[in-house]
Symmetry: C2
Subunit: 463 residues, 2 copies
């Protein structure tokens, strides 16, 4: 049986562990899917490469009221798709070639699973390793709907009808779909609704709950839901009950409210599941929690002493920047086991690149109250600042939750243009313990930049 | 002779001094021009209200290479102009009415000047005051050109030809000018060039020096100049030598390079001069420096003990956020003279809202080297981060200058999308003494947000 110093399962953030500091170790790298992981191939990066053209394609919606008449003449979906994936596929392939050529790395391009604490089987071979890193990520899940086979995204992928998609495949369709039904109300649904609506598709969203982005602060969720309902056909409290393939290959979607919809594409944006369940983890003594996440300690070590985990397989944030952070921690701890570092999950921000954009960090107002904090909350409209006047904005806002007395910022929530950028000074303040009043008054805020939104929200807090 | 507790000269940032804390004081407020000052009426705010529609109007320039064909059908200049000034004029008039009704405030709507240390003449009346605040701002200056009379913007304003403009008037023209000649290469020239070019005017810029934004970091200035030269006819090292009014009321502009240009609008964007020279300051014992700025101490007190100054009349930044800051300092020091505060001018940021946007804070690379710092410089392209891939960016960048050893950030310079927002975390870090490496590693940066530009620039520093 071949033996390695280290086995890394997953070529996304796990791949970033391998550099010259591991040159003296033999490494097995196992990847069952596209090389490079979710973010690069089917997640953050290609989606944003669709979102940005969508932002431009939707400019006519925003410009008319400002006195600028634009027409969207054409969206070249095949051109956009090929531009994006020509670039991304080359990065994926280049990364794989690079690894394949590394003298100390052996690449296993196959599904794999533990056969014991120190042994792993992949591609018909069993090998052993001193240490393992589980960076196997997560996968899109499809809900039970009559006429939909979850195996279309696994064993029976050849049988998948042309209309059936998750985020793994929807960006590679041949043509811009004329009619899109999106199932789900989270960030994936929100981003693709923006992309397809901006490009001119007729979009219907079916969301089981009463609104979109329900994990956000309640006011953000409500406002986002209202905003999205103006752009697409938004059906809340509705799920698809049956989907049939019509003679022309399109879908006929029956919904729980009795409505019926024809669609060229049905996109299931109904969540993701960590991939630990595919790895026979009990054989290695690696435990998972009730939701399937690999259990790790603050050093990213699993319940097996010689096995670490990082990224979507072990954390519920499912965010690349968290995986990157954890990869740095694991890397350090592999090299310096006597002085292990801990991950910092105190202030994990995230953004939804839809129209409008949403970004958040820390506690929602509800969470802060539930946790017993004595809080002060400020809600500041873009329309209240000079740059918001320029945009004639009457819809978007920032909301900051702080602890009364100390001025400690507990959470920040922004819905509107450039939310993902505007939130960074707040992430920074929370991470370094800068209280609200000092943050507001101890630095200049360029007038009349959009950042005055944050300044004024901070000043409006009754700390 | 009527006597006041306080006389404030200028209704821009000076007006913000007046609130309920001054209710027990009699206040004279002197304003010779439009109520509300430069920022509100002819500066920051209306310009940005033109710039944002211009950003949208120029979307077709950016979108085509991304696969989205947009056409700019129409720009409704009169509609944009009226929307903007209907809003702004109402704020100006409302502010004036509010002040006029305040029982303790007497409004003098006239030019005025000191007649002695404690006496002032305005509108044919002479009055005295215990204390004064000079917040008289600055004015656009017009260079000596044959055929151009500087008095067109003062005493002989009725004689001004329709083509002759400064930033005070150019936003109120009847129609979108077909041909615009802009004289100057600073931020006013850069912003209006963006506005008019985006709206479809034929734009020529004449700049005396070899590039635009010459006060910026040299690499920013060079890159901005190249960028602008792709959008407009940019003549560097050129000044207008003579301007004649043609029979149809348009201008014939002769330039120092021998070229001749017809223009519906000639915009002089050739700098601003502090208004101290109009106030007979020697009579009050208030000194100015060689460039005409009122000399103040760190408490904003002039060389006359009972007279303070703030804003463009006394500081060369000519920025509203600096004037606002100084107004807060003056306000405190008027109310608490025994415990005076000082202004903080350490890290004054600024932005140019052109296409591309530019934002900066702190020292340029050249300034840092000249000051003797041992520096490390990182230049990070937007094209190197995921969001830059989405934009297919190959032009824009951030540049950070830090002190080697300490990691202290000395300056930051960004040219590209959302520069005015992206720079805020750097302003914050400089203001609160957060070193580069800690800033980069001690917080999350949302992937794949545009903020990764700053993160990666910080990580690239060799501190």
């Amino acid at each position: 049986m071949r033996h390695f110093d280290l086995c890394i399962i997953g070529s996304g953030s796990g791949n970033s562990l391998i550099d010259e500091q591991l040159d003296d170790q033999s490494v097995a790298l196992v990847e069952k899917g596209i090389f490079g992981g979710t973010c690069l191939n089917v997640g953050c990066i290609p989606t944003k490469m669709f979102v940005h053209p969508a932002d431009l394609a939707s400019a006519p919606e925003r410009s008319a009221r400002l006195g600028v008449q634009l027409t969207r003449d054409k969206v070249d979906w095949p051109g956009i798709r090929d531009r994006i994936f020509t670039r991304i596929d080359a990065i994926s392939e280049g990364g794989e070639d690079w690894r394949a050529q590394a003298p100390n790395v052996t690449l296993y391009r196959a599904k794999g699973h533990f056969t014991g604490p120190h042994t792993f089987a992949a591609g018909g071979e069993e090998f052993s390793a001193d240490r393992f890193v589980i960076a196997a990520g997560s996968r899109a899940v499809v809900p039970p709907v009559a006429g939909v086979d979850p195996q279309w995204w696994d064993e029976r992928r050849d049988e998948r009808p042309a209309w059936a998609h998750t985020s793994d495949t929807v960006m590679r369709t041949d043509d811009l779909p004329g009619r899109v039904v999106i199932v789900g109300g989270g960030y994936v649904a929100s981003e693709f609704a923006h992309v397809f609506a901006s490009f001119g598709s007729d979009v219907t969203i079916m969301v089981r709950s009463q609104g979109m982005l329900r994990e956000q602060d309640a006011e953000i969720s409500e406002a986002f839901t209202r905003s999205m309902a103006r752009r697409v056909r938004l059906l809340t409290g509705v799920v698809p009950t049956e989907i049939a393939t019509e003679g022309d290959g399109t879908a006929r979607v029956l919904a729980s409210d009795g409505s019926e919809h024809r669609a060229d594409v049905v996109l299931f944006a109904t969540g993701r599941r960590p991939n630990g369940d595919t790895l026979n983890l009990p054989a290695a003594g690696v435990e998972t929690d009730r939701e399937g996440y690999v259990v790790v300690d603050p050093h990213q070590r699993t319940t097996a002493e010689h096995i670490w985990a990082l990224g979507d397989v072990c954390n519920p944030w499912q965010l690349k920047h968290v995986a990157n952070h954890e990869a740095k921690v694991v890397k350090h701890n592999l090299l310096h086991p006597e002085q292990p570092r801990s991950s910092d999950h105190r202030f994990v921000p995230y953004a939804v690149f839809s129209e409008p954009q949403v970004a958040a960090v820390g506690l929602t107002e509800h969470q802060a109250r539930a946790a017993g904090y004595d809080i002060t909350v400020a809600k500041q409209d873009y329309g209240s600042i000079a740059y918001g006047w320029a945009m004639e904005d009457d819809e978007h806002f920032a909301k900051i939750v702080a602890e009364r007395g100390t001025g400690r910022i507990l959470g920040a929530h922004i819905m509107g243009p450039e939310a993902s950028v505007l939130i960074q000074p707040l992430i920074q303040a929370m991470s370094f313990g800068l209280p609200a009043a000092e943050m507001a008054r101890g630095q200049y805020w360029i007038h009349p930049a959009m950042t005055e939104l944050v300044e004024n929200a901070l000043l409006a807090l009754d700390v």
